[in-house]
Symmetry: C2
């Protein structure tokens, strides 16, 4: 398959999908759900082959869990499809309606982005989630899934594509790329692909970002911080920190660095260290943090296991039961540290002090800034957005968890009866700019 040719064709067909009705797109979603349920044995059989091969290749059991596509996962993706169907149409919404002059009316209308390339990790449920999100938002998509689930992906894609076409969507609404070299071809399609959404390891996302002129939505690093201010509920702090570090260590929104107010360091820090040790978390601390922990009789012995960290560790996403600890003078130093070393993903302050919290929420330059809760809340489902295609740390277009809303843009429609700019330049006509009611709003 020649990805460039296919992308070009898709780009020209994209307005056809964009012009489809919400009913038609929902019908496609319903047919997809029905077909997935009707043909589940076929999917499970393909998945069994993938899992067998993965086992033979000695894949880690944590990864293995992601590869599996079973009744539970099928039920989850079907629930997701139901939810998508129930959401209002994200396209064709009138965002602005303004009479520029008598008989000259400007509208800003939401439209799909166009052609989206999605490269995702080996999780077959992602194939269903992403393709249905793209259909609901009227976007054509080129999908490349992880090779470990190649057979499952192929089966799922075939079912999804067939159902979409059956519902009357254009043949070229979805395309599956299967070969690794097709990724590089895809990266060259800047004329025809409007957006790339890569999901996977930091290095992989970084590679994509460095090798394409297509805008990339997503994030390479998730270096999230929790700053513990001096006036804090200690029990709450332990609970939140342990959750943020251990609830799911492989997540991008897991905490990697703890910043502790110096006034707390002599009592709170050893207690926190003990709680972390008990939870199986290894500590990489600054010399000062290690000193505080070593000075306490309760943690002196364990302090020996602390690795003294260098500055570079503050830029490391561990994705493991490891955490960096640094002692800071105040909220200002915490803010400076986070803006300097963080990845602008999600950071939290734990404090009873409204002034310190206000300062932190204002000054930390991240997609998510929290007070008194776990960084793990950074997620489309937990924000109530429904499914998400990823989390963006870019400041342009969509930031934070990206759902349907991040998959649309807008265009301006202007309707007149022969107006020319010359008349306004010469003063024969003048604009009066009157915002009009938007029907149904």
């Amino acid at each position: 398959m020649n990805i460039r040719e296919e992308a070009k064709k898709m780009k020209l067909d994209a307005p056809i999908l964009a012009a489809s009705s919400n009913e038609q797109r929902n019908e496609a979603l319903r047919l997809i759900k029905e077909a997935l349920m009707a043909r589940k044995e076929e999917i499970f059989a393909a998945n069994a082959q993938d899992c067998e091969a993965a086992k033979e290749n000695g894949i880690a059991s944590a990864v293995m869990k992601r590869l599996v596509f079973n009744d539970a996962k099928l039920s989850d993706v079907c629930k997701g499809i139901d939810q998508l169907c129930s959401l209002p149409d994200p396209i064709g919404r009138i965002l602005l309606r303004r009479e520029l002059d008598e008989g000259l009316v400007l509208e800003r209308v939401s439209v799909p982005i166009g052609v989206i390339g999605v490269i995702f990790e080996a999780r077959p449920d992602a194939m269903v989630q992403i393709s249905t999100l793209c259909i609901k938002s009227g976007n054509c998509a080129i999908l490349k899934g992880g090779k470990e689930t190649a057979k499952t992906n192929r089966t799922l894609f075939g079912i999804i594509h067939e159902a979409a076409v059956q519902a009357g969507l254009p043949e070229s609404c979805l395309l599956q790329a299967e070969l690794h070299n097709e990724i590089d071809e895809l990266l060259q399609c800047e004329k025809d692909v409007d957006l790339l959404i890569p999901r996977g390891s930091n290095q992989f996302v970084q590679y994509i970002m460095n090798n394409t002129k297509i805008p990339v939505m997503g994030h390479a690093d998730g270096i999230c911080h929790i700053y513990v201010d001096k006036d804090v509920d200690e029990e709450m702090a332990f609970k939140v920190i342990i959750d943020a570090k251990t609830q799911y260590t492989a997540a991008c929104n897991a905490v990697e660095t703890l910043l502790i107010h110096r006034d707390l360091a002599s009592v709170f820090l050893p207690r926190l260290a003990r709680a972390l040790f008990r939870a199986g978390v290894r500590i990489r601390g600054t010399q000062e943090a290690e000193d505080f922990i070593a000075r306490s009789p309760e943690t002196a012995a364990e302090a020996e296991t602390i690795e003294i960290m260098g500055e570079d560790d503050f830029r490391t996403e561990y994705l493991d039961l490891i955490v960096s600890i640094k002692v800071v003078a105040d909220v200002e130093e915490a803010i400076d540290h986070i803006n300097r070393y963080g990845s602008h993903h999600t950071d939290s302050i734990l404090t009873r002090d409204d002034a310190a919290a206000g300062r932190f929420l204002q000054m930390v330059d991240s997609a998510g800034v929290y007070r008194n809760c776990s960084t793990r809340f950074a997620d489309g489902f937990r924000y109530g957005f429904g499914a998400e295609v990823g989390i963006s740390t870019s400041k342009l277009h969509a930031r934070g968890p990206v759902g349907l809303e991040g998959l649309v843009t807008y265009k301006y429609l202007l309707r007149g009866d022969g107006q020319i700019v010359g008349d306004y330049a010469s003063g024969r006509s003048t604009f009066h700019f009157k915002d009009l009611d938007i029907p149904g709003k």
Copy 2:
């Protein structure tokens, strides 16, 4: 000056400017206006030197007009500043307020983008417009103006920066780059510069887009089309086409290609050709267009001056009194041509037929799609947005004319009292997603 070092410092200071109040930013705008008026002789003197040097270098008189900064231009920029002051604060707006669960409230709040690099053509008024737009939207800016007005730019920048600092904005809110090699340095600052806005020739914008990892807002080409459908008011069509081509040929929203319905070609096309010839416009036509014009006794002689065009001409932005003409079968062929050869900027259909117009507005994949009016309306001022930093043909973030709204993004604030994700994962707690009223809305 080391642009990288300065950009790094600016990035860390950006949250300080972002935290400034609307009153403070408006105060800066007022002080800038006062200082510009009080020190106008100083500005005019610097500008006289620039203009003198430009004349010695034999600059074209059309370009010369742009370089001049006189009482009229000063009055224009001061009016622009007044308008900016009167606009509501674009930052700190609450865009979403949702209770995820008891005591856990999510807000989406508008914030400045951060650090913006603007590289603009030799128009001293642009220096004032762009720096004041950035101040109003709370963005730090690195400004590089055209070298032809170096002395004027330096004087203006000095006045603007002094007034901004006097109003209490941070020293590093604005920075002027003056050397051409500093542009290349700026392009390397992807860690610290959030957005680049280049204005200038196609080649220049293309160069920027091809040589940086920083997101670029703007457009390289403005290949705008007018499609004349078969059922059209001929007089209106002539008037709109002549306006779109000749009112300001150097503008990106001037029309470059006319697509004419075949049913109109034998009568309408020769008449249109005559109107274009009279307005001093040269025609590059397809062989078919030339044939229609040559067959008419009224335009047979002039038809000899038509250059027969190749496919590449359809991708050429003339920015001159030249227009391409192609005969098409119907609105579908027009749409296909525009989506294939256009630059997704602004395209217009002239027709009395609602169905054809509806199809065109729906299917043309451009930032602006018009019916029965000139493409020249694509402009921030004419849309009622006030000042603009440029027109974007990108589909991400801002599309079309970009004003204050395109210079902000948002962040998510989450306030809790110790909530952890583990409780929601285990089912001990559940989200209830309740959208709350936004104060003042």
